[in-house]
Symmetry: C2
Subunit: 191 residues, 2 copies
DNA sequence: CTAATTTCTTATCATAGATCAATTTTAATC
DNA sequence: GATTAAAATTGATCTATGATAAGAAATTAG
């Protein structure tokens, strides 16, 4: 939990009271590789802060195909934003890709805190804005890039993600098949 | 300007002081069809609130291809979120698709207001969250749907957009060519 | 260390959607 | 309303990527 506080304090010094309230609603959890934090069934509205390790959120289509929405490492938030912020119930999963430590929050509780401490809400606001910019960039990428270009951009942007993400998940993040990704990788290796 | 205040007041009653401050930093503008609000060159950070009419934001690739990021009508905000919220300077354009009335804000000024009036910031926060959910949904659609399915979903979601958006712009929003869209439309018409 | 899974690669073939080019339809302008 | 320009359609290819299948490599479990 100290890690989250430390992280927030990069943007905003927290009073003892704020810290106490944050801790009160948080739940630290250790995850094995492959462990599911949030499954498609449960419509719990939770936000996940990653202390260490790596997680991903994905959607499984009727045909059983997985589509990765997000990867997250240390100091990132990951959640099912569709369930969280709209009333539609998306059928999303969040799973851990390695041994990870996370902090869980019920959206409702977190929201109360933001209402109570506007300065904290300000920090979150900046986070939301950054996320919007990132999502827009991703959409632009999906609209404009070829499989190869998407993968190369991925390598650039996710270089600090260590090698814990299997390629088939990267493919599902880029919107291509594992086979295509494999070809692209070969092509890059040969050049 | 009254329209924005009226719109905000659906979520939050505004004090006279708040209204005054909002008006102070706003600039109402009337746009002809085809008029550009924000061009790729100018790196002004502005937010646009649509009072009436219809606008779109798009990116023009090196090869001159246009890719539409967003359409917006009455009561929507539209901006170049990439320039706005990240330091990358995206080369984005916002143009009016019909006669429109909009209200412009300098991001900086708006930000000051949010800092000054936390309750207003709360309203914006909800707006940001909704946008994130919408963007995630769009990404999911781009990852999972065929051209036909994307178009059908578009028709559902944008039915209230009157018929002011030319098909080639819809195509550029869906990530397909105008020719493909035309074929999809024909197929739908025949079934 | 070996066996069993899971992931990755490679090859072949199929196809949705792109590209190019020409025509028709619709809308804008004088 | 006639002329011009913009947008939409259609047809004929072409191509990037998907689908299927099978073997190789890597990881996990016993």
């Amino acid at each position: 939990m100290d890690e989250l506080i430390e992280y927030i304090e990069k943007s905003l010094p927290l009073s003892e009271e704020m810290k106490r309230d944050l801790v009160k609603i948080s739940k630290v959890k250790h995850l094995e590789k492959g462990e599911i934090v949030l499954s498609e069934k449960s419509h719990r509205k939770i936000q996940v802060f990653v202390v260490s390790g790596c997680l991903r959120s994905f959607y499984k289509s009727e045909k059983g195909k997985e589509h990765t929405l997000q990867f997250a490492i240390k100091n990132w938030w990951i959640s099912d934003y569709i369930t969280l912020f709209s009333n539609a119930n998306s059928i999303m999963c969040i799973e851990s890709l390695s041994y990870s430590k996370v902090i869980l929050f019920e959206e409702k509780e977190l929201d109360k805190i933001y209402k109570q401490y506007p300065t904290l809400a300000m920090v979150q606001r900046v986070g939301l804005q950054n996320r919007i910019a990132a999502l827009q960039k991703r959409i632009l990428g999906l609209l404009t890039l070829s499989a190869k270009e998407k993968y190369q951009r991925f390598l650039d942007e996710y270089e600090f993600f260590e090698k814990v993400i299997p390629n088939y998940q990267i493919a599902s993040f880029l919107g291509i098949t594992p086979e295509s990704l494999s070809r692209v990788r070969k092509e890059i290796a040969l050049s």
